[in-house]
Symmetry: C2
Subunit: 393 residues, 2 copies
């Protein structure tokens, strides 16, 4: 069975929150309470389900995750919090588990009360649809403007046991994760100690989801959770061992591949561009510059126009408020140097061919230190503007 | 004579820097050295003419300003600096004035060496074209993607004398001035003490050009200069007098009207939107939030879609990294409240009509202090992406 993880069931149905009758309600259930940790949006206006889940997951255990799309339950005040709480309680009752073990997420339009009666009406069907192969339905139920669902499943042998890990994510706009991302759920049958899992999870998210930006927008609902239910039967991972490294590599691979799927589905985009800043004074300075370039609308429209306009990249670098030597900057498109000592260098014609590729790398050498940063981004297209000027309120 | 200021001559010609043979070289000349001050871009990668002019204007006097469009002379290294210096020297020789009195500006493509031989070839014609009515030609010669030239001329009676002030600006993209703006030149026949003029100029620029953003991009070439040649014959303004207030009002009016012209000509835009943040803890916090909202691509595409999507505004507020009370935010479109206590309020239908207007105001009440900020912005349109993905390198 390809899309399943031992001990986990899932489902996804349409409850009528979305007007087009596509799936909008998803559920994950672990046959026993799983070790669970999460990372969440840094947006100060956190959605009600984010606040609720952030609090509940502190216990380190989760057995169910319910997610609705089509409504973010953000900027909905006390009512929104009551709604999130009531959804959680209803799931717990249906599943006959402790309410403290239920995590809640929402994604979609901000500022509209959650249509709680539709969720309630379909709750029984959602629970009775749970199955080991339900992850596909779940991954479809959490989509908003995504054009395809995003699931990566991998297996590895760890501590003598076959371990499975699945990652499921949604997101194609309002994407510049900061400490967390969009919605992403990782399920594994590994047995692992909670604090170790949290440390590992934060580190992996940092180098995958937190290293990409589509439009510089950090949503109110970003949430990434991982549940480890121990069904693999391995001796619980407790310290910095070979087994931990094996699992870290597994998790990293899945998280990075999911990140790429999100970039590939970026609203209206035609290109994936890796922005690499090297030889910066500090990692923070490198990141500041990488994000400024990756989010510059002028740089991103130039990518769309397949124009190796390194001048716009220079201008963005100069605005980042980071320590630079203004006379020492070099820029490459892949292996073609277009600027050296902050002046034109090489043949711009060679760079033009690179800009036509669906994926390429911009390397910025600051020559003032040894730190670096790597951010993936996309182009800004006519289609992006169409999609986002058309999104109904 | 409408478009002239006593004691100032100007000209604008085509020298072949732009490939379409439109005007690309402009000159301003004052019949005697004028008191002069300037404010300049905060971009760390300042163009060669910016560095040169910033240095020269410290003397407090200027008699000529030469500006080319079609080439920014930015990221051009030592050669760029030699070019800017040589243009200045050549102008001084032609005009038979001290080289220290010549200011230089450039605007256009970044990173391409200035075609200095074209400027040299046409220098004599540029100087011999100088005339009291040449400001129109000058204003056309400094345009890049501008669709119309931007000149505001006003007169006032100050200290018993008729005083004239003209402001000329260019800019329609790469516009988020910070301490300066695009290119803007103010000429007046007033007599005024230099330090007083500098103080006044900085204050006025702060509340006009520095209070708008089109795309969050601060260019490498932003420059605003003011030349006061004293031809009005008034007794020199030296202190905080009624006359100074009168001149300040004159300057403020011209600068604000020029700012509006720039917004009206914003690349591809269909709307001007005033973002007002009030009751913030400090002015800095208010500005941070106003800029985050004004530059959010999701907010700006919603404006284009005429969608009163206050949820995107909330999400932008939450990302600004400013002190807020997440439960206390109110949002208005003009006089229609759409959110209160960070939740939906009022009737969104009423707001929809406002979004269809060519100009409207978004007011954000933070309810956590008494400071405010006011930033003008535009929508982000399909046309903006077309223009900026098409700009040739």
């Amino acid at each position: 069975m390809m899309n399943s993880v031992p001990g986990f069931l899932a489902s996804g149905i349409s409850s009528g929150i979305k007007s087009d009758n596509s799936k909008d309600l998803g559920l994950i259930f672990s046959e026993k309470p799983a070790t669970a940790v999460g990372v969440f949006t840094t947006n100060q206006l956190k959605a009600a389900p984010v606040i609720l889940t952030q609090e509940k997951i502190k216990n380190g255990l989760a057995q169910a995750v319910i997610v609705n799309s089509g409504n973010a339950n953000a900027c909905t005040g006390k009512l929104g919090f009551q709604h999130a709480t009531s959804v959680s309680e209803k799931v717990a009752r249906e599943l006959k588990i402790d309410n403290r073990l239920v995590m809640v997420s929402s994604t979609g339009i901000i500022g509209v009360p959650l249509p709680i009666e539709r969720i309630n009406t379909h709750m029984h069907r959602l629970v009775s649809s749970l199955s080991p192969t339900g992850l596909t339905d779940f991954s479809e139920a959490i989509m908003t403007t995504d054009t395809f669902s995003k699931t990566i499943l991998r297996k590895a042998s760890i501590a003598g046991k076959d371990v499975t890990l699945v990652g499921i994510a949604k997101g194609s706009g309002m994407v510049m994760p900061a400490m967390a991302t969009l919605l992403a759920y990782f399920l594994t049958d590994l047995s692992i100690e909670r604090s170790l899992l949290l440390e590992l999870f934060r580190e992996v998210i940092q180098s995958s989801f937190n290293a990409l930006t589509i439009d510089g927008e950090t949503s109110t609902n970003d949430t990434a959770l991982i549940l480890a239910n121990g069904f693999a039967g391995n001796e619980i991972l407790r310290g910095d061992t070979n087994e931990l490294t094996q699992f870290k590599n597994l998790l990293k691979g899945v998280a990075e591949d999911l990140s790429r799927l999100i970039l590939k589905d970026a609203e209206g985009s035609t290109k994936i561009v890796q922005i690499t800043v090297k030889n910066a004074l500090t990692r923070e300075e490198a990141q500041k510059i990488a994000y400024k370039v990756a989010n510059s609308v002028l740089v991103k429209t130039a990518f769309f126009g397949e124009d190796p306009n390194w001048g716009r990249i220079m201008s963005a670098i100069g605005q980042a408020g980071a320590a630079i030597n203004p006379a020492k900057i070099a820029i490459w498109f892949n292996d073609v140097m277009v600027a050296q000592n902050s002046c034109r260098a090489g043949n711009i014609r060679d760079a033009q061919a690179i800009l036509k590729l669906p994926e390429f790398r911009v390397t910025i050498d600051l020559q003032c230190g040894a730190a670096c940063a790597d951010i993936a981004t996309t182009d800004l297209t006519i289609e992006y503007v169409k999609i986002n000027s058309d999104y109904p309120t």
